[in-house]
Amino acid sequence: MGSARLYAVVAVGSFRRYATYRVATAAGVFTNTVFGLILVYTYLALWDERPHLGGYDQSQAVTYVWLGQALFATLAIQGGGFETDLIERIRSGDVAVDLYRPADLQAWWLAVDVGRAVFQLVGRGVIPFVFGALFFPTALPRDPALWSAFLVAVALAMAVSYGIRFLVALTGFWTLDGTGALQALVVTGMFCSGMALPLNAFPQPLGEIMAALPWAALLQMPADVLMGVVDPWSAFAFQAVWAVVLLVLGRAVQRAATRRVVVQGG
C-alpha cells in the first residue's frame, strides 16, 4: 500500500517534469506531424502500386502511419525515455543515490517511465493523430469496445517497451558507457517494431520472425487491435507474455548488476 503511493508520487512527478519541457514538446509534435506526412505520401504511393500489401487497404495503411507517429514518443519506440537518465546516472555514479534509497530500482524507473508515457500520449500523441485523421482517409472504428481494447494494448506495449529499455540501460553497469546500447535501441526500434514499414508487409519468412519478437508488441499489436484485424485477446496474450518475460529477466539482471556494484564498487 505504502509503496503504491510512493510510486504514484514518482509517476506524477515524472509527468510534471516532462510537462515543463514545453518547447521540446511543441518541437516533438511538429516533428511527428512532418514525419507522418512524409510516410503517408510514401505509403500512398506504395499501396497504389501494391494494393492490399500486408492485408491492409490504403486507409488502413494511412491509419497505421498516424498511429505510429502518435505512439512514437509514448512508447519510446526508438528510445528517449527513462533509459537515457538511468544510463547517465550509472555512468556518473549518481546511481549510488538511487541504491541507498528504500525503493526498488525497477519499480522506481517504471513509475518514472509511466509518468513520461502518459504525458507524451496526451502532449505529443494526440495532435499528430487528430491532424492525420482530419486530412487523410483513415480506417478508424466507431465501436467504443475497440477503442478500449486499443488502450489496453497500448498499456501492455508500454510494459514491453519498458522491459526492453530497462535491460538496455542495465548494460551500463558493465560497459559504463551506454551510448552503443542506445544506438542499438534506435535501430532495432525503427526496424523491428514496424515503425518504417508494417511487419505484415515484410517478405516471409522475415515478417514471421519479426512478428514473434517483443518489438511486435509495441506498434503492430495496438494498431491491429484498433483496426480490428487481430483478435484482441490473442494480441493481449502475446504482449503480456513478452512483458512478463522481459520484466522477470530485468529483475535477474538488476540483481546481478547491483551485486556487481555492491561487491566490486562503481
Partner: protein, 340 residues
Amino acid sequence: MSESALIEVDRVEKVFDVRRRTGFLRRELRRVRAVDEISFRVARGEMVGYIGPNGAGKSTTIKMLTGILTPSGGRLRVAGFDPARERTRLAHRIGVVFGQRTTLWWDLPLIDSYRLMHRMYRIPDGRYRENLDRLVELLDLSALLEVPVRQLSLGQRMRGDIVAALLHDPEVLYLDEPTIGLDVVSKARVREFLRELNAERGTTVLLTTHDLQDIEQLCSRVMVIDHGRLVYDGALAGLHEAGESERTLVVDLEREFPPIEAGEAARVVKVEGPRQWLAFPASASAAPLVAHIAERYPLVDLSVREPDIEAVIAKMLYAPGGSGEGLPERQAVVPGAGNS
C-alpha cells in the same frame, strides 16, 4: 559500551580487483586495499570528522556504512543492522548527503522532492509537516520551496539536500563533503545548522571533508585515514601533538630589531620591519615566551596564531617516519572506487 555505540566498525576491509590494460589483449589484475582493517566506534550523539587525502578510503567507508558496498572482511554494525544485508531497513534510520550528488528532482520544485521523501520513508503526516516546517525555517528555504531545483544556487541546493536527508528523523547522518564549493556565508550557515542539529536532536554525525574548518568548528573527535588505514583517532587537540605542530607568536616591537633571542623556547621564522614571527611548540604555553620577550624588548602588540590543521595533517602523514610515503603515487591507488 556496545549499546551506546551506534556505529561499530571492527577490522573492516574492502579489497577491489582492478583490471588494467597492459597490452592489446593483456590485462593485469591488481588487488587494491581501499580500506585496510579499520576499527572504530561512534557513540550515539557524537559528531566525528573523517578526513584524509583523495583516494584514502573515506567514501568507500561511507558506502560500506550505508550498505551500498559490501565489506570484503570484518564486521560492521550501524544502529544494530548489518548495512549490506539489511540496506532497505537501515535506510529508514540513516540520512546521507553526498556533496557532489543530489537526491533532489532536478526539473521540479523543491517541495516535490520532499513529498517524495514523505512517501518513500513512510513518514507519518503530522511528523512530516512538523519536520518540514522546522527544517525549512532553520535552513531558510521557505521562499524557495516552489523553485525548480535546477534554478537553485549550489548553497541553496545543498541546504535542500540536507533537509531531504533529515525529514525522516534519521539517527545517523553521513555527510560527504557537505560544504564543497560553497561560499563563506553558505558554509557558515550549514555548519551552524549541523551544530544545532547535533546539540538539540542528538543526531549522530559522521562528516568527511577536505575543508578542515568544518572539522575545527564542528567536531571534537577526528579520525584520519590514509592508504586505507586509520592513522589517527582522537581529539582534535591531540592531532596537533601527533603532528608536532607549532603555533606562531606575532610581535610588534617599537622599532626594527635583529631577530629576537628566545633560546630553546622559540625560533624566529620571519622578520618584517618592527614585526617578527616566532614559532613555538603547540603544546607549550605562550605566557613564558611573551614574558621573556616583554622583559627584553619594547613590545607594542602581539597575537598568537593557531596552527593550520591542514599543515598539521600533512606533516603527520608525510613527515619522515610518518605513515605516508609521499603524495605522487597516491592518486593511482583507488581508481573509481574512492571517488565514484
